[in-house]
Symmetry: C2
Subunit: 182 residues, 2 copies
């Protein structure tokens, strides 16, 4: 079925609009990552899709993180984070690190090499980033990270697409019923 739906505040589609707005945003393409944070021996990791490159010189990634998230304080303290790229099919890992369970690091394999935050042994690749600046962005915070380390663990695997995770993270419920005024 083809859709040709305008999603402006002037439309009268209030009922069911949330699904329509979510469907629109699902057309933005993202990967799926496990973000590692840590300060000394205290470490955590969580699943995230809002990661991308934003600069070549220096090489910078941006991570958009919910400051209500329990890992945010650790990121602020440690000022470093890892970005572990999940492979297509690793939905179990995406779900595992998407949970609030404080013991989630205990049941999967990870290392830290010369770096503090957890690096997943099963990941496709990882990046090591130092936070260089932070900017508020609505209900999230943008963390700009300078990439100073990285490793490609499996050059044959395909990265996971956020679309592949379907409704796993319950994000559809987070979209408003209608778009706001400009």
């Amino acid at each position: 079925m083809r859709a040709d739906v305008i999603l402006t505040p002037t439309d009268c589609w209030r009922g069911g609009m949330s699904g329509s707005i979510a469907a629109l945003f699902q057309r933005l393409t993202q990967g799926v990552y496990v973000i590692g944070v840590g300060r000394g021996e205290v470490r955590n990791a969580f699943t995230a899709a809002w990661v991308m490159q934003v600069s070549y010189d220096p090489l910078l990634l941006v991570l958009s993180i919910n400051p209500q998230h329990s890992s945010y304080a650790l990121l602020k303290e440690g000022r470093v984070f890892s970005v572990n790229v999940l492979k297509k099919g690793q939905l179990d890992l995406a779900a595992h690190y998407g949970r609030a369970d404080p013991k989630k690091l205990a049941s999967t394999e990870w290392t830290t090499e010369r770096f503090g935050p957890p690096l997943l042994r099963e990941a496709l690749a990882w990046f090591g980033c130092r936070v260089v600046s932070e900017h508020p962005a609505g209900d999230h915070m943008l963390e700009l990270g300078k990439v100073f380390d990285g490793k490609l663990l499996d050059s044959e695997a395909e990265p996971m697409s956020y679309r592949e995770t379907g409704a796993m993270d319950g994000a559809v419920a987070l979209f408003p019923d209608v778009l706001g005024d400009p």
Copy 2:
């Protein structure tokens, strides 16, 4: 072939490292978009991959733009931008809007509806965004855009992946030979 390559400054892989670092960054997943900008009757559009959602409330997208780009001045003046989602297979459109040709808008179909910047009739979907803040990010600028309009034009089409564009944009040459110090 499987790779297991550490890309730190301590490695001695200076020759050919650029390709390796580019290969690592290619594991980050992005879409491909045509960004429209405009102020009054002056309009432009360009191909970009560095776009993502960063907030639910309000709904915000971030665009990372090279301030040397000719469209940057128009974006600063108009303070609005459109994000046109390209479909899988629309490599001709990606290449067309990737050129510096000042007449590129004349040869494809677009509209503006109630909005100023160009909206591509052939796109999968588009978003209308108003710039709410701007932050420097290395050699780029982050433009935070509040989404106040949007349209899903083709719900059956798959979005284009940046990986699909291969070496079209010449980005491999923009990666450094080695990663810098933290």
